[in-house]
Structures are given as structure tokens and as C-alpha cells.
Symmetry: C2
């Protein structure tokens, strides 16, 4: 039996969901709330396994609510359902800890299946949403294609520089003299077109050279 709580400001939808869950084998509705004002108390009073969360709600929106809920009840799976198909919403919902993200056009059976999915450790998503997630994923990677032609030793030095090591420490870690480290650093600056350690480190991290 999967216990489900509903947060949805539209009364008609809310009632429909409640009815659907109450009349479906293997599901129970522990509560249906129009907003998240007393969410934590509500859930404390009536524990649940899955939350069906609307995004657009008066007061606290569904994404904020998701963040808050995950903070208090990390084990509860939250299924976002919305009419919004926007990167910002998707991105933030994921970061907030949502386990699934479906569009409101889903059929009654689709809802039940999605709830079953999140409960069993999956992340149901409308294929269109999933595509957006993949795109966001790839944008986030954006591996640097530029090759700075750093030698292996220079890369090592740069790596250590990134961790905040001084020339002296780098020297002892690589078993070379500080002067050699200086040489390498100087060459690195030349190749990276920078003039200080901080710039080099910033570039290195941003471009995932190290």
C-alpha cells in the first residue's frame, strides 16, 4: 500500500486525485492540501511515502516545498506534476530533490504508474522532460575542447596549484626543486595566457583541464 499526500491548489484536480487514489488498489491518500503553509506538520501528522506536488501554488511554490520536504523527510519521494515545460523549473526541481517530473496531461493510469515508479526507486518523466534533462546535463558538462598543450609535468604542477599548494610544497611532492616548479608555472602561464596563479586555477577549473 503506497501512502500518497497531495499538494494542489486547484480544488477540482485535488478532489479528482484524492478520489483516484482512494479507489485504486494498492494506493491510499493520506491528505490533500491546497497549499504548503503547514506542510511539515501535515506530513508529521499523516505520514506518507510519496508526495504529489504541484508547482504553481499560492504562498510557497512546489519547488521550495520540495526542498523543505526533502530537508525534513529525505526518504519521501516527491513527484512533481505541472503544466510548465521550462528548463528553469525542471532544473530547480531536480536540484530541490524531486524524484519525478510529469506533465499534467498524463492520464489517470499514468499518474498511478508514475507514483508506483517513484516508490520503487525510479524517476518517471515525460519523454519531453527527459530530453530537457539530458540537454541540461550536457550543457553542464561542456568539456573544454581547447587543448592548451600542457605537458604531463605541467599538468601535475597545475593540479597541485589548484589545491592551493605553494611552490615549495609542489616541489617536494614532485621531487623537484622550487626553481623547476617556477619554470613550469611560468610555462603554464604562457600556454594559458594568464599572469597569476589565481587566473590559472580559475581557468583550469572552469575548463576542466584538471
Amino acid at each position: 500500500m503506497i501512502r500518497v499526500a497531495i499538494f494542489e491548489d486547484n480544488k477540482h484536480l485535488r478532489d479528482t486525485f484524492e478520489l483516484l487514489l482512494s479507489n485504486s488498489e494498492g494506493f491510499s491518500c493520506t491528505g490533500a492540501y491546497p497549499d504548503c503553509q503547514n506542510m511539515i506538520d501535515d506530513i508529521t501528522d499523516s505520514p506518507c511515502d510519496v508526495v504529489l506536488m504541484d508547482i504553481e501554488m499560492p504562498g510557497m511554490n512546489g519547488i521550495e516545498a520540495t526542498r523543505l520536504m526533502k530537508k525534513h523527510y529525505p526518504h519521501i519521494n516527491i513527484l512533481i506534476q505541472t503544466v510548465f515545460f521550462e528548463d528553469d523549473y525542471i532544473f530547480n526541481a531536480i536540484c530541490a530533490g524531486a524524484s519525478g517530473y510529469i506533465l499534467k496531461s498524463t492520464t489517470p493510469n499514468g499518474y498511478l504508474e508514475a507514483i508506483r515508479d517513484v516508490q520503487s526507486g525510479g524517476s518517471p518523466m515525460t519523454p519531453g522532460i527527459a530530453r530537457r534533462v539530458l540537454e541540461l546535463f550536457k550543457v553542464n558538462l561542456q568539456l573544454s575542447t581547447t587543448n592548451y598543450n600542457l605537458s604531463t609535468q605541467e599538468k601535475k604542477v597545475l593540479q597541485l596549484l589548484v589545491t592551493g599548494k605553494s611552490y615549495k610544497m609542489i616541489a617536494s611532492e614532485l621531487f623537484i626543486s622550487q626553481e623547476t616548479v617556477k619554470s613550469h608555472v611560468s610555462n603554464i602561464y604562457g600556454k594559458l595566457h594568464v599572469h597569476s596563479a589565481t587566473e590559472a586555477v580559475a581557468l583550469a577549473i572552469r575548463n576542466k583541464i584538471v
Copy 2:
């Protein structure tokens, strides 16, 4: 009519897919190949819209093949289908440019629907796969939840430090004395628990403080 090419080394499965596609309304099978040795030529001879790609194949594997295919035919949507449920495969498949990733347990109808989904710009995924993607996504973000309590001025200084500015330049940009910059930097180090500019910059970028 969605034109589909199949790459699958298992003859039984390959034949099954071909039969399924040939006998389904709105689908046609442009080819069914046991490996990717002549993939590009095959597709050039028999153009398609969607590729159903197995991962485990002799010679070139499905992920490499996906990468190659996307290079030559960026508009072709590639649907990965596999028995493997591993982060590495999922991660690499996404990076290679796959549009969907489904498990082989899917029903015949599930395959057809997934093909329709990728063709119409979606990314069908088994909910379990989707969960892995979300996890990978979040690991990749690793948003810092820790609050370092930097004051507004300290944040400005840190920002400028990240760009490689010296104390002197920071001082003139913020219209304060170098001594003040020194104070701020010192306080930043204390709050960030670091002892050098490079460490502070690395931490700042990685935790997206700036």
C-alpha cells in the same frame, strides 16, 4: 512513417524487431545489422530517422557507434536499448548523443512508443534509468549547501580575486585601500578555512560562491 534502422548482434532479437517494425502502422525498417562495421555506409545507402542501437556488440560497441553516427548524421535520433543498468554506460551514452535509453525488458509496444517519442523530440527512459540520470546530474552539480557567511564586500573581493586581480587592482576597483583589501582577504581565508588565494579561488568556483 518513421524509418528505423536496427543494430543488434543477437539474430533472434534482430529478426523480432524487424518483424515488429514491418508489421506496425507508421513504422518501416530500413535495415537490420548485426554490427557497426559499415554503419555509415549502411545508413548512407538506406537513410533512416531513428536508430535502435544495442550496446553490447562485437567490434564497435553501441556507444562508440552512437558517437560516430551523431558526427555524420546529427539529426538521426538514436535509441539505446540494453540490459546494462550501469552509470558508466548511461553517462557515456548521453555524452555520445543518445536521445533515449531503454532496458531490453520493454514490451513490443513499449519499443514502438519509445521510437515515436524520440522521433517527436522526446527522450524515453526507463524510470530506473531516469533516476540514475538525475543522480549523475546532481553529482555533477554538487551545489554547495554550506554557507560561508561572506559579507557583500568580501564576496566582491573574492570575485575579483577569481579574475586574477591583484590587491592593488582590487583596491582601486572597489575604491578602498590595499590595506583594506588585505583585511578582507584575510577574513575570507578565515571563513573559507583556506590559506592562499588559489585555494580560495578553487573553492569559490567549485562551490559556485561567485
